[in-house]
Amino acid sequence: MATQHSRSAARVMMAPAVILLLGWMLVPLVMTLYFSFKQYLPLRGGDLGWVGFDNYVRFVTSSAFWPSIQATLAIVGGVLVITVILGTFLAMLLDQPMWGQGIVRILVIAPFFVMPTVSALVWKNLFMDPVNGLFAHLWKSVGATPIEWLSQASLPSIILIVSWQWLPFATLILLTAIQSLDSEQLEAAEMDGARWPSRFIYIILPHLSRAITVVILIQTIFLLAVFAEIFVTTQGSFGTRTLTYLIFQRVLESQNVGLGSAGGVYAIILANIIALFLMRIVGKNLDA
C-alpha cells in the first residue's frame, strides 16, 4: 500500500516539472502551427485571418526555397566532412606522446569556447577582409590578387568558419575513442603484416566508427541551425541563405509571421527526415 501511495505522490510531485517541460516544447510548436495557417503581418494590418495552406504553398514555390535547402545541405555536409576527417587526423596526432600535451589539448579545444558571433567577426575582419585581412596580406605577399572571400567564395568561407568552431568537438570525441584502443591490437596487426594504411583502415577506423557516428549525429542537429555566422558575415547573400536564415528573413525582414511559421514547420520536417535517414545509415553502428 505504502508503495502505491508513494508512487502516486511521486507522480503529483513530478507533475509541475513534466508540465513545464511539455509546455516549453508544446507552446512554441502549437503557436508556430497556429501562425502558419494565418495571414499575419504585424506592421501591415496584423492578423488578417485564416488562409489555409497558402503560406505553405507560397514558401515552397518561392524562388528562394530550393537554393536555401541546397545551401543548408552544403554547409552541413561540408562541415561534417571537414570536421570528421581533420578531427580523426588531429585526434591521432594528439594521441601521440609529446611534450606539453595538456596545454596543446586545451589549445585545440579553445575554438569551441568562442561564441559563434565573435568567431565569425574575427574571421570576417581579421582573416577574410579583402583589404586588411591576414589572407589578403598573404595573397599580396606572393603577388596575387586578394580573394574577396565572403562574396567570391561565400559558401566555402562559411563552411570554413563553422568547421573551425566544430573541429574541437569532433577532435575531442574522437580522441577519447582513440585512447581506448588497445595498443596490443595495433601491435598484433603490425606482426600480422599490416602496414600503416592497412592498420588505419582495418583497426583504427572500425574502432572509431561508433564515435564518428556520434559526432555526425550531434553535429548535424546543431549545424542545421547555423545562424549567427551567416548573420554576421554575408547576411544571407551570395548563396548563403540557409533554410534557417530564410525563415528569419521572412519573419523579421518581410514581417510575415505566417509565411515564416510555415517555413519553420518545413524545417522541423526536414530535420526529422535527415535524422531518420542518418539513424538508418549509421544507427546500426550504435547497436553493435
Partner: protein, 334 residues
C-alpha cells in the same frame, strides 16, 4: 626452421637500462620459457625478438640472418598477446585470415588455411562469431589460430594464460604443449608462473632484472639451481634457504633444502621445531615448522595422511644428498 640467436642484445628506456647485454641461443623446434618475477624484463626481451621494440645494442639473428633492422612483419614470427588482441569488429574467420589477407594470399588459399587452423583448434563452429561472443579459452584459441595460419618460424607467447581462470589454464597449458609436439615449431613463451615454465618448457630461461640467471631444462634447474635466486624461484612451494650457523656447518653461506627433501617425525631428527600452519592439499600436506635451524619457518612436505596439530613438537631431518650449498654471493657450491 626457427633458430633464434641473441648477440649482446641490450635495451634501455632513456637512462634506465632494462636489459644489459645478453646472449642467448634458442634452437629450432625448442619450447623455451622465459620466466621471472614481474618487471624482470622478460616481456621486453620477447618484444625485442618480435621487433616491437628496437634493441639499444646487439643483434637478433633469426635462422642465422641478422633481423635487427627487419620490421616485425618480415621476421617470420607470430605472437600471441596477453590480451589476445583480437580485432573485435571482425568475425573469427576474418581474424584468423587477417595475416593471410595482409600477405595478399588469394581467397581460396585463405579459406583453406583458416579451415585447417579452425579444425586443429576446435573452432569450426565459431568461425562466424565475433570475439565478443566467445569465452576466454576460445578467444585464446582464436589468437593462436591467427598465429598458426602464418606458418611462422617461431611462435611468441606473452603471458597468454594469465587472463584465464585456474581450471582453463591447466587445459590450455596442455593444448599449447600438444600443439608444440605436433607442429615442432620453435616456441618462446613468457610467464611469471614457474609451474607453467616447469610443465611446458624444453628449456627454461630464468631472468631477474634483465639478467639471465640460469638456462636449462626444468629438471636441471630444479636439481642444480645455479644460485639462490633460481633456487628460490623454481619449485613450489619454495625451497627453504637457511643462513647462519646451520649453513656454516656445511661450509656454506646459505644452504637450501626443498620441502619434499625434509623428513618429518614426532620422535627423532636433526632439527627440533614446532608446527605452525599446515596446508592440506589432499595428496600432500605442507607444514610450516618453526625450528632452531632457521629464524624463518621451514616448509616441509609430507604425505596427505599426515596430520599434526598446531603447536605440536616435531623433528626435521634434511636429506643430505639433496642439500644445496651457496656461497656469500649466492652462487652454487659443488
Amino acid at each position: 626452421m626457427g633458430q633464434i640467436q641473441l648477440n649482446q642484445v641490450s635495451k634501455s628506456f632513456g637512462p634506465v637500462e632494462v636489459i644489459p647485454p645478453l646472449d642467448l641461443t634458442i634452437e629450432d623446434g625448442e619450447f623455451v620459457v622465459f620466466v621471472g618475477p614481474s618487471g624482470c624484463g622478460k616481456s621486453t626481451l620477447l618484444r625485442l625478438i618480435a621487433g616491437l621494440e628496437d634493441v639499444s645494442g646487439g643483434h637478433v639473428l633469426i635462422d642465422g640472418r641478422d633481423a635487427t633492422e627487419i620490421v616485425p612483419a618480415k621476421r617470420g614470427l607470430a605472437m600471441v598477446f596477453q590480451s589476445y588482441a583480437l580485432y573485435p569488429h571482425m568475425s573469427v574467420r576474418k581474424n584468423i585470415a587477417f595475416p593471410l589477407r595482409m600477405a595478399g594470399l588469394d581467397k581460396a588459399e585463405q579459406d583453406k588455411r583458416v579451415t585447417q587452423a579452425a579444425e586443429v583448434l576446435n573452432l569450426t563452429d565459431y568461425l562466424e562469431r565475433r570475439p565478443g561472443q566467445l569465452s576466454g579459452g576460445q578467444r585464446q584459441r582464436v589468437a593462436i589460430g591467427r598465429a598458426i595460419v602464418r606458418e611462422p618460424a617461431a611462435f611468441l607467447f606473452d603471458e597468454p594464460l594469465s587472463n584465464l581462470d585456474a581450471a582453463l589454464r591447466v587445459g590450455m597449458r596442455l593444448e599449447i604443449s600438444e600443439l608444440h609436439k605436433r607442429l615442432k615449431t620453435t616456441m618462446i613463451y613468457v610467464t611469471h608462473d614457474q609451474v607453467e615454465a616447469m610443465t611446458m618448457a624444453d628449456k627454461i630461461v630464468v631472468l631477474q632484472a634483465g639478467v639471465i640467471e640460469q638456462v636449462g631444462s626444468p629438471l636441471e634447474l630444479y636439481q642444480r639451481p645455479r644460485n639462490t635466486f633460481v633456487a628460490g624461484f623454481i619449485g613450489s612451494p619454495k625451497m627453504n634457504l637457511i643462513r647462519g650457523a646451520e649453513a656454516a656447518k656445511h661450509d656454506a653461506d646459505t644452504i637450501g633444502i626443498r620441502p619434499e627433501h625434509i623428513g618429518i617425525s614426532s620422535t627423532e631428527g636433526t632439527w627440533k621445531g614446532t608446527v605452525g600452519v599446515s596446508e592440506h592439499l589432499g595428496s600432500d600436506t605442507f607444514f610450516h615448522v618453526q625450528c632452531n635451524a632457521s629464524p624463518e619457518p621451514l616448509t616441509v612436505r609430507a604425505t596427505g595422511e599426515m596430520a599434526l596439530s598446531y603447536g605440536s613438537e616435531v623433528y626435521l631431518t634434511p636429506r643430505q644428498e639433496h642439500l644445496h650449498r651457496f656461497d656469500a654471493k649466492g652462487l652454487r657450491l659443488e
